[in-house]
Amino acid sequence: MTIHSLPARTKTPDRTPAEKPVRRRGGRRLLRERAGRQHHAGPLAYVLLAVMAVLSIFPLYWTMVAASTDNTRVSQTPPPFLPGPNLFSNLARAWDEAAMGKAMINSLIVAGVIALSTVMFATLAGFAFAKLKFKGRNVLLMLVIGTMLVPPQLGVVPLFMMMSELGWSQQLPAVIFPTLVSAVGVFFMRQYLSEALPDELVEAGRVDGAHSLRIFWSIVLPVARPAMAVLFMITFVHAWNDFFWPFVVLDMTNPTVPVALTQLSAGYVRDQSLIMAGALLGTLPLLAMFIVFGRQIVSGIMAGAVKG
């Protein structure tokens, strides 16, 4: 087989970074060109992957099944495997009885604000670490990475005291403020901007006499947009699902979704289909996000990974 008979779409010639066009749309650039050699998946690989997919999805499917039947049916053996007729009535009950409505709005506010501020500060800091020269840059970057190793829960007692002193106990700011920034986010943006933002662009801005904030606004932000979108989603997921600190500082009159869910199951009389309806309700927004933006979230997590 000669070279010419090969299919045309084998490999684009490698381009030097300088002549790579800067993509402005979509998160595709986050997907690395693969380097490792790829074998085709055999039937066994497909079977194993299918098993993994079923194991991943089944608990959620079963949440839906349990949420759509009634208590007597849920607690029979064998357990039901097909959805019943009561899904919407159970969801409505969970919405009313478990303060789910309020919890949803609270979670939306908390996760939205945290994700926005994380993205903003991470992009600013990530740009500085990636493209600006300043004294102690490497030391500070090591410090950022070091902070990833400090579990936030260990400071929970003084944090609780601080919040009651500020008068924020049971209030949303108590949940929002401690997580306004994220070390992982800063590191992620630095990695991305180091690769995606050509030095020449920053230089050009400097030559034109633009000050740093202006460069950030007009040059960095457009380049960083896909990574910002991904970081927003990942941070949103984490903030939405965060449990320990909200559970400590909020009460049942003003909960986030996970805190409201504990209330559902805390009673002695357990209404299983109500509990499952609540769990389903609390998961639906994120599930919708994953179905729509699955590709971006996957590539974002992979882009943020430590390689080597």
Partner: protein, 331 residues
């Protein structure tokens, strides 16, 4: 040297009347000074927000925790701190609940982390094949990651229910007696670990997959020229190639395991949750910390548990370092 773009960018007004040379010089000096200030100062301004928030809400509380742990503080009167020196530590050392929680944290940590990372490695290897629907499989393995601790724990609590749970029903179908998942120590810890494994395997697999894709192809080519089998290539090229990612996930999982809280709390279904079962059979350090502070109202003792957790982490990493040392010496 100003061009029109400069003015547009810097938002300057076009000069009206031509200035005198002296005025021009001071203006230029001023803008040069501003420029230097900007180049020197802006980076610090950009990274400052991160460090300010971290210092206020993470670092300061962590340090202050150690100070609180040397006092008696009641939840109802947070402003009254009574100095007791190391009494809290002495009490904790003699408290059987602490040792029980420590042991539970370690065992649940091991039985949730080890299988999780091994499965993630296998899954990443499978996802690394070229195949149809690869995006579907990747997103599917991330579904658990999108589920909150609370929701996941509620579902698994039901699946592991003693009387009508799906697991016991399935065991019964193959002739095994039902297991009392909540009341017995080992089954409870296995069930709780299952929740952790389910939530994090796919996420870790994606981290491994990203690292695998960064391994240069020529290493595989060299290995196959040497006649290495697929399995040999996996153990001698793939695994060493993603070593630092594996270390990274071990570190993150270890930190996560020390903090375990939501899963056992919800698995205990209400009143039993905080104590980690009727006999504390699955109480973790995280639960003990909460119980001391928010159920027994002893914030000082709660801070002591937190500090003990921190020491545990430090010890774990020192141990890891030592093992690494010894290994490199023997090999």
């Amino acid at each position: 040297m100003a061009t029109s773009t400069t003015k547009a960018l810097a938002g300057e007004e076009p000069p009206g009347a031509p200035r005198t040379t002296g005025g021009e010089r001071t203006a230029r000096r001023r803008s040069a000074l501003l420029h230097r200030l900007d180049v020197k100062g802006a980076p610090f301004a950009f990274v400052a927000p991160f460090f300010v928030v971290f210092a206020a809400f993470s670092f300061y509380p962590l340090v202050y925790t150690s100070w609180i742990s040397l006092h008696d503080v009641e939840l109802a009167t947070l402003d009254v701190m009574e100095w007791v020196a190391f009494d809290n530590y002495v009490e904790l050392w003699g408290d059987s609940r602490f040792w029980n929680a420590l042991q539970n944290t370690l065992t649940i940590g091991v039985i949730s982390t080890v299988p999780q990372l091994l499965m993630a490695l296998g899954l990443a290897h499978l996802l690394n094949y070229r195949m149809r629907a690869s995006l579907f499989f990747r997103v599917a393995s991330l579904v658990p990651y999108a589920t909150s601790v609370a929701a996941a724990a509620l579902v698994f609590t039901m699946i592991f229910e003693r009387d009508f749970g799906m697991i016991n029903w399935a065991l019964g179908a193959v002739g095994v007696d039902p297991v009392n998942w909540e009341a017995d120590k080992w089954p409870a810890q296995v069930a709780i670990s299952t929740i952790v494994i389910w939530r994090w395997t796919g996420y870790n697999a994606l981290l491994y997959l990203a690292a695998m894709q960064a391994i240069p192809a020529d290493r595989y080519e060299a290995a196959s020229l040497d006649g290495a089998s697929r399995w040999k290539q996996f153990t001698h090229v793939t695994v060493p190639g993603i070593r630092s990612t594996i270390v990274f996930t071990i570190v993150l999982s270890t930190i996560g395991a020390t903090q375990l809280f939501g899963e056992p709390l919800i698995f205990g279904q209400g009143p039993n949750g905080i104590t980690g079962g009727a006999d504390n059979q699955y109480q973790t350090l995280g639960l003990l910390l909460y119980e001391e502070g928010w159920k027994n109202y002893q914030m000082g003792r709660s801070a002591t548990v937190a500090w003990a957790m921190f020491m545990l982490l430090v010890l774990a990493f020192v141990a890891q370092r030592l093992i690494k040392r010894l290994r490199s010496r023997t090999s």
